[in-house]
């Protein structure tokens, strides 16, 4: 990691981020670390109670923590109402940003009628198709392919090898990680006389401001209308979003979630890893789906929903699974009734 020679006095950090300082404000902070791993000059944080026992022995220079933990902190600290988000903002000071000078790399290929802002960066081996526009300060990393009729808003970062196939419109400050593919054909097929015929996918993809899209995630373009992510949607890696889906603002999905076509998902939802969401259904705002669960019908009540089955010893599991296969018979035998 390149040295970033900078030091911040703890008192300066307290002032800048609106936190309460306890202890020596002249403490110099030159980086961050975990409670267990931090050394001299490093700022750590305590947010998850399960790490509280590591506080007493920390070698960190200082710690961001909640009021209740401050008394037990052996080093100077910054007291925050929400230590995790306070730490996140401070840590950003120590983030390394890859070089991305304004201008178009000599190896990049840009269509004659594409429009690239003067201060945007277009990296090596990137290509930009007809009628596409790249906004002010945007970064198009190495190997990205921007197809035709796309818009990349101001301040967007396409890290590397991102593909926007066609008719993809990104708002401001959207961040997309390598291998992601937006705007590929949706999976539309009709069977005719024993063969599939392809249903044309004429829509696009619209991504709101401040969204983040993970590595190797795929978001298909709509069949007729657009696939839509509202603002501040956060998708982890390897998420699949089918055509015509709509995802509400501030919703987050962990890795490997699969969302089938035309599902509508509300705002402030949290979808756990590898969960599946069937198509043509609606999930209201503020729904949490736990990991590896399967949503097959609309949900109209906020709350937490599950169907991921935890492992057990394989021999026991096999016996239980065998019983499951006759659960209805078993239930009938004892007079149970299905009324769900």
């Amino acid at each position: 990691m390149p040295a970033r020679e900078q030091a911040h006095a703890l008192s300066d950090l307290a002032a800048r981020f609106g936190l309460e300082l306890r202890g020596d404000g002249t403490t110099a902070i030159t980086g961050v670390g975990t409670l267990g791993g931090a050394g001299p000059g490093q700022l750590s944080f305590l947010a998850n109670p399960k790490y509280r026992r590591e506080l007493a022995d920390t070698a960190a220079a200082a710690v961001v923590l909640a009021e209740a933990d401050a008394a037990h902190c052996p080093v100077p600290c910054l007291v925050a109402r929400d230590p995790y988000s306070a730490f996140a903002r401070i840590a950003a000071l120590f983030e390394t940003r890859p070089e991305a000078p304004a201008g178009i790399h000599a190896s990049a290929v840009v269509a004659a009628d594409a429009d690239v802002a003067a201060d945007a960066h277009v990296g090596p081996h990137a290509s930009i198709g007809a009628r596409s526009r790249i906004g002010a300060g945007a970064v198009i990393g190495p190997g990205c392919v921007i197809g035709e009729d796309c818009e990349v808003g101001p301040g967007c970062v396409l890290v590397a090898r991102v593909t926007l196939v066609a008719r993809v419109r990104l708002g401001a400050r959207v961040r997309i990680h390598p291998g992601a593919v937006l705007g590929a054909d949706g999976f539309g097929l009709a069977m005719q006389e024993g063969r599939w015929i392809k249903v044309p996918q004429l829509g696009g993809v619209v991504v709101g401001d401040d969204c983040e899209i993970g590595a190797n995630t795929t978001i298909d373009r709509g069949a007729i209308e657009d696939t839509v992510l509202e603002e501040d949607v956060r998708l982890d890696n390897q998420v699949q979003v089918g055509h015509n889906v709509r995802i509400g603002a501030h919703t987050a999905m962990a890795g490997c979630v699969a969302v089938a076509g035309s599902a509508r998902i509300g705002r402030y939802c949290l979808i756990g890893g590898a969960a599946g969401i069937a198509g043509h259904l609606e999930i209201c705002d503020r729904v949490t789906i736990t990991a590896m669960s399967f949503v097959t019908a609309s949900i109209d009540t906020p709350g937490e929903y599950s169907s991921g089955m935890p492992v057990q010893d394989a021999r026991v599991w096999r016996r239980n699974a065998a019983r499951f296969r006759q659960l209805d018979l078993l239930a009938r035998k004892i007079g149970g009734r299905t009324k769900d």
Copy 2:
């Protein structure tokens, strides 16, 4: 979206696609839309009964629909036996195809002994390896990597950033979406004295005519013989196909399906999203596997099979899952018997 200035008289569409016209045949059609979203000049369709209630209020210029719905249509209509496939064929008239002029882009790298048809398109930053052949009219989009000893049949479209690693043979008119990887090493390992040794993957991948392969889908090459997709197989995004798998003609798989090595899947199968298929088994023709189900053994009877468990309220789920862990004990207590 670029303007495609074209209009088709409704009567012309009826004649061209063999549909029955009802109402004003001079109606000009300039595009398509959904029943709820279509406006002037747009053709819509009604195939799924759940949208029937939107017919009365549609602002579409005309609608493709079934005989039974024609009487309720407030605008001119085209009557089809199968409205969805009729609409698909008409909508293709309004599809925009990206520019792909014949010839090899100056930035592409083509091996001296590769063979590219004169009317094929090889886009920016594509590379084509030794002894590979690109057929007539094929499109190799930007950033594609074609390795050694591959064949791309006539009329194939590799949209962008597709990789054919080695010994991949595509039939005619195969369409592959960005990020797909065909012909990577299968996952062959042998444990020897506490370390893995790699089993060489000497086979290839054979893909039949008219197949379509989704974004970020992976299809490994065979260990000794080939991994095979017969004609007209349709794979959605993020599907994983292990080495030596064989998939029968006209089978379709939705997103995120995982197929383990050496599975043999029949013709006209439908595999729902995120389903898993274990290795070394056989599935007969015309089997439907619903989403998020797990096939662990061969299936020799056509029909529909499931094991995806729907979500419920998380607290209730946890109680039920805890009971499941002792289902066999419970069943014994009431004298149930496993005979599946």
Copy 3:
């Protein structure tokens, strides 16, 4: 496939790999094949007992097999304690390696302060970022993107279109398949006043010697410390590894496994396809997780664990799943007790 004109006398193979020869040692071996598919000149093997019935009719020139099967072999054979690993080593003789001459392709873009070994290969349209180092004999295939501050050890092979985002350090002889993304931002988010803020991801990824990483697999870099794969870890395609995960030496994961952040997985574990592993837990050495299972809590006892539910006829399944939704009520009715 290019002709590789080479023949090995069976007796030479026996001597070279320490196997016992039975039958005519002058038999010339020019390639390999399956028991059912092999023809003249081809060596086959018998390791899985379910293929034993194919031995009697094999047209292979010779077969690698276990002592117990030798008597039933109709052709010359090589007797091995472990026929599969013996075959793997012999088959490597017939493997075709793609051309990868030493040097940097004219179309590649290498940062001025990057360091590429003289005998390394950097292919077409690859790019290598600031301060990164490529070791002796390493192969950086076409379209790879190596970001800043990365290290690629001696003998590594990045087949094509691999991305190392930043601060990724590979040991010796690591093999990475196309589309894999190492070192993307981990999925770190904090909610503040109704909006997500991004938690900087300041760590890297460390990959030990002899690891193999499948196509379109993603491994995020750590939030503060590193994400770590110890030596000889083998990941199949489309595996997702979250930030701060640690995977022990010699562990193998089949396709589509998802590992959430901060999980610690032991040595010599086998994780079946599409299994999910929750975050912030620990799995001890020598644990097998069967396919499509979900690990929600730490495992401290070696053994096999499952929760993947096999399909059954969809109508029967629906009745059983409906009963499951009230399993706790059912169990209470018959006086069952949860004590797991």
